[in-house]
Symmetry: D3
Subunit: 237 residues, 6 copies
């Protein structure tokens, strides 16, 4: 039995609330159980300098946690003057995941910045962030389309993410903080609406894992992200 009492292939209660930020072109408050992430998509007419003359746009992401999103208060990163390695890793992952489903040539030489700010953290903040960021990005692209700033179809597919792990010998889906802390293997999967793999990251926490175990985790993740994609479809309907 997993600590959360959930079945091995059971997601936490997920909700995707749109249009929660007054100024952003797109926004979504995503909840995976007690993990809450506010995602906003901001259109910037001026992208980074290396974009000029390419005719293409860019999608990037930033990630941060409020200090008391966590059980113990975490020091603000601005206090130490630099984002941690973990923050860098996560925001690069979110950016790559979103770009995998966007046609960057459809949005002109503009940049969309998706900010993912964790209001409350109970494990899986990066996967919740990617899942919610897709909704914010969707609405930002719709806003641009309504203003004729998009040529053709910019959004090629859905993308959602979920964590999996091996807990007490059993492969389980969507780990909360307590499960994550005691898992032997920890993996994150980013998968498109059509089932393509965008990112696979698996890490042995204690002893190495086998190819069979990896396969079991992938199967859980495919089913889990399929459900998340359904929730995205309902959210943007």
């Amino acid at each position: 039995m997993r600590p959360s009492k959930r079945a091995p292939d059971e997601l936490r209660k997920v909700s995707l609330e749109r249009a929660v930020a007054r100024y952003a072109e797109g926004s979504c408050l995503v909840k995976f159980g007690d993990t809450h992430v506010l995602c906003t998509a901001s259109l910037e007419e001026r992208g980074p300098p290396w974009l000029r003359g390419t005719g293409r746009g860019w999608v990037t992401a930033e990630y941060s946690m409020l200090p008391r999103a966590t059980l113990e208060r975490t020091r603000r990163e601005v206090t130490s003057g630099r984002p941690s390695g973990r923050t860098h890793e996560i925001q690069r992952l979110i950016g790559r995941s979103l770009r995998a489903v966007v046609d960057l040539s459809a949005i002109g030489e503009r940049q969309i910045v998706v900010d993912c700010d964790v209001l409350q953290a109970d494990g899986g903040t990066r996967t919740a962030a990617i899942t919610g960021a897709w909704v914010a990005l969707h609405d930002c692209l719709a806003w641009m389309k309504a203003r004729s700033m998009v040529q053709g179809e910019a959004l090629k597919d859905h993308v959602a993410a979920v964590s999996c792990g091996i807990h007490a010998g059993t492969p389980v889906l969507d780990l909360d903080y307590a499960e994550d802390s005691s898992a032997e293997t920890d993996a994150n999967f980013v998968i498109t609406g059509t089932g393509g793999l965008v990112e696979v990251q698996g890490t042995a926490e204690g002893k190495p894992f086998s190819v069979e175990e990896l396969m079991a985790l992938i199967e859980l993740a495919r089913a889990g992200t399929a459900k998340l994609v359904d929730l995205q479809k309902m959210a943007v309907m």
Copy 2:
């Protein structure tokens, strides 16, 4: 007529929602119209080193804005590696305001950090933050009291804050962003539940102001903070 259509002495719609953060010892989501600030109070058993051996505690505050709290996206301060002068000024003001109503010797050699994170900004973020921070602090102290960590009465009074300004020649209360941008004089007042002044900050934006004008602003602020204190009382009832 002010841009917001409010009467000169009319506050925006104010709400104070308690216990919004799962982990914090005290928390409050404060709204002054479209200005929304999430305040959490975190108890830290280990205060700053200079506290040791004094028998007294400390209350401090940190302040930040989410990047898309604003009309245009604002760059994260961690990107430039340091909090701006404005951030420093505001967090020092919040800390001083709270300490003015706390008996620091009642809480032992502990520190309470109040984080004020602006989710959405429409003017008056520092005054909303102080007003909400008091509620978060109140609940943190109640949490400590229930665990016998407080000697006597730690919270001596209420404290609330409001901005005032001279807009088109008329003194007005609680400016939103549009009003603030066009005000000739901008002032912030921090006032206790018993009407004592804790902080007075008035700045001429264009031409200097007179003592009479300052008096008119103070009267508006006293009435406004009295209403805010009533709302605090209802919130913590």
Copy 3:
């Protein structure tokens, strides 16, 4: 009796020595008793980028203390890599105070930087700095006028500043360090030559203060700055 033996409404001995820096377009060594601040005004043909095309100029200020200006040696801010919150607050205050009396459209798209470096500190460094900075700015504008770089009258008024406080229950003017440390309320006033208020900042150190007390401090400050303005007039005669 106040520690300095001065009457409640008595300034320290004030002197304003002009043209003390060989290279600066304007300069002033201001002394408020044992508080000594070297103010230099530097004309920069290239202002900040956001000035371009506006037809207007800018006046800004920087503030710093020599390490041994203080009783105990203070660490240089460059060692920690960033100006403190206090430094930011003070240099923003000096800049705003000076801009309140300058017609920025009269000086073209140029910038004047006023550096206020505290050689010795005995309380009231920011108010001495503002009072001396006005003299340095005056001389810089005269230098520019002599070279036909100013259209019309750039300097609209005098501006001077003084601190006040409530010490042992009595409102007193121009606090030195010893008085400042033991004052219950601490306030700074920036006032023009024609008596208009530019900045009012009052802070309760211990218990809150009343509106009546604030009024008494304002009256002291108006008389004190009037004397400082007289000294400025004599200095630039």
Copy 4:
């Protein structure tokens, strides 16, 4: 045909030269074709503060590139004042990989720092670094053993790493820079001597990849790392 003319499952020419640094407790110059990484293992009697009292040691890694390891000169990270996100990601990966095969309780409260400095880069620097770092670590542990600083067997297994990718539709092993730049999918695998997976990281560069493709890459990686482990065995014989 791949640009390097190698067979799909062919490693570059690999060499592992031991004891190349005069002072380090263990060292290895690893070459994967034109990718050259100098790995040194340094024993530090004083580990990080959080180690104290745990009875366990720690193994960590740092990673850097010489400025002209690359085709175009790369700016030193010290110039921008902080390691990049990429550097953080890589050094965390190397550290985790090594710790997966070390019994941290066998080395006491000491820290081993493995520095991986890229002298020349032609793709796959992180996988070469892990493979060479194991040799440096092996020799450092042998050095400690000879001085009775290790209890029991500290090194539990080999660990090696290799990159794989899908190039022009074909899964290929150990990509050089030219191949990496044009690969559709890029993956890194860290695998132990007994074939357990320690880290799996797969990223779609263009279109998402399928589970079948991931399986093909894993098979290549298992065979490739088995050969690398053989080379490690010969090197430390």
Copy 5:
């Protein structure tokens, strides 16, 4: 003829004014013509951590320039977040020069920090700083002696410094800024009261210099520092 109209072996007008800072244990305002440096010596009971248990003290120096010490305003180093290479070089030189004439075991485990702040710069700021710093250090040690904090004689000798250069083919002493800018060779000498060399730094600006030219510069420097030492003796009499 040199630009300053001085004879080749003629110093600028030098003055050494003691006790110019109210709080410092020792201080000196040194002037070499239009180069003015304020030197303060601060006693710190707590030296750097590596001093503990050695029974010896330390003397160190810091160096900075006011922004408008120079012809054109110079940006404050705190703005860029770090002291420049030039600043580092100079403050290390001043510290080494002073330590060459102090018996560090005579002052106990204490640190003396000598701050050299350039109020006005016209060439030779580092040599003026060393010459004035000796006076500030002398007075700090006298202050300590009067409080029985020194065992035996802490100050073993005088130390003074001067620049020399080859200007238009002629070796000249104590270059001002105009001469320094056009000199072919630039050298700084730090010499004790008994004529020993502490530091010799010679740099060819354009074409290399000969051993004979170096000898000529050394002779000028020996005579020049002998005069500076006489002025130090008069100053501390």
Copy 6:
């Protein structure tokens, strides 16, 4: 007898290996005994902004040590966020030394960056770096010449460097780390192929040195650098 058993005027075994870096326009691995420095010269078409319109080029240098180049592991400078004062001093010295023998107007508005990375340190890293950097620079200029990027003769002379010191009362050449640590006087000389002095830096570590001692050191350095220049000639033949 010196610790290294060498005669007072004996260099360590010196080698200069060219073309050791695959991508750099020029490179040299220089060894002075156990001191090993990898020097690469990189041509950059875009020099620093202040070069534009001058018609001249620039040669600059950067210097760093690998963490375990030293007996005890040294912390990477990127960890503290800034190069140390020592690093700044050394890279400025290398740059000045190289520029003394280059005709900057012959290479157009381009920049050559010479990176000197110490792989192993046993004293004299800066003098080895200068000696090797000349070879890397030579080859970079030859590379440019072959592509008609140089007008006339860019390289005017050789330049080499060596340290000298007074060890146990005897002047000795080319100190290793053990000798350097116990030397009374430490000096570095940068000398051209035709015997001109480019840089002379002498520092008394303990007691001051005499002019006669300085002369003896210069004679050792002239003979030593003459040998180094011969080795450079053989290396680039």
